[in-house]
């Protein structure tokens, strides 16, 4: 039962991603070609509200539903891993037209081809682990 809230949030997330068309390969191409505001509007609105909300959580020490403090852990300092890793991610994002969330939402929508993308994303995660000691971090 404690997981039902996450199931419901996931369902709403899947609906948002589909109805906003952020799961569409066409929308991702339109974004990378700077030919419409749509995707920038979605991400920009989410981040603007996100920045305001996170600042409020920190300012008023807002706690979670169990009364624990909401903590934001700073990510490790580095440039190369974020720039290189991010660029490889971007290559895949533009080619497949989907990042990890939309990949599975597309599978639910009935695009079985996205199951191949998902499977190989798992392979890619594993591959990273195999060669990570040889990569700059």
């Amino acid at each position: 039962m404690k997981f039902i809230k996450f199931l419901l949030l996931g369902i709403v997330f899947g609906i948002i991603m589909t109805k906003s068309e952020a799961v569409s390969w066409f929308r991702i191409q339109e974004m990378f070609r700077f030919q419409a505001f749509h995707m920038y509007g979605i991400i920009g609105t989410a981040v603007t509200l996100g920045v305001a909300g996170v600042a409020l959580i920190k300012k008023f020490n807002i706690r979670d539903y169990q009364g624990n403090p909401i903590v934001f852990s700073p990510k490790d300092k580095s440039v190369s891993r974020y720039l290189l890793g991010g660029s490889i991610f971007g290559l895949g994002w533009a080619l497949s037209g989907a990042c990890p969330g939309p990949i599975v939402v597309n599978v639910g929508y009935g695009y079985w081809a996205m199951a191949i993308v998902f499977f190989f994303a798992l392979v890619g995660t594993y591959l990273y682990d195999v060669i990570k000691n040889k990569l700059p971090h």
């Binding site: 009935g110 594993y126 591959l127």
Partner: protein
């Protein structure tokens, strides 16, 4: 109400809803980061027995796997009950650019040239899907997050690493769109 929901949603409503998802996850003691699930699944299928990176208590991430299952259901429910299956209304300039790559104007959510069963079972189509997925999985773990973890959660917390990652996302996306795709399509 239902009519309003079955139309494509506006960018501002969609963006606000995504922020709401992030805040609900924070309120429930978790954080919004989807690609962690890829690592969790690798661990759950037993890779953790032989490998330190996947040797963590993946059951602590069960909530996120449940969220993933919800996302699949969300896609399914939208298709069944909230979809009018109208073609995605992308810019005319994008339609023209894509036609040069052999991708026709939208007829539904995704281009049949890439995501139809026919395309999926062709060698070239399969390779596009496989390499796309491979780079998404590899890159998100290397960068320590994807669009949700870095572009939404990380930027909301004003984290410099996330900003660098997002710059990387765009660098890679632009290279693929303008330099590589004209060669492979």
């Amino acid at each position: 109400m239902i009519e309003l929901l079955t139309q494509p949603w506006s960018w501002w409503f969609s963006g606000a809803m995504i922020a709401a998802i992030m805040f609900f996850l924070l309120f429930f003691g978790q954080s919004f980061g989807f690609s962690s699930n890829l690592r969790t699944i690798c661990s759950a299928v037993g890779l953790g027995k032989t490998d330190k990176f996947f040797d963590f208590n993946w059951k602590s991430q069960m909530w996120n796997l449940v969220f993933l299952i919800g996302a699949i259901l969300g896609g399914f429910l939208t298709k069944q009950f909230l979809s009018t299956d109208v073609p995605v209304q992308i810019a005319q300039s994008t339609i023209e650019d894509l036609s040069k790559l052999g991708i026709g104007a939208p007829e539904s959510l995704q281009p049949a040239e890439i995501f139809s069963l026919e395309a999926m079972l062709s060698l070239k189509g399969f390779m596009i899907l496989a390499f796309g997925g491979l780079m998404v999985g590899f890159g998100s773990r290397y960068a320590g997050g994807c669009t949700s973890g870095h572009a939404i959660s990380g930027l909301s917390d004003l984290q410099i690493p996330s900003l660098i990652a997002v710059i990387g996302f765009f660098a890679g996306g632009l290279i693929m769109t303008f330099l590589i795709m004209p060669l492979i399509f």
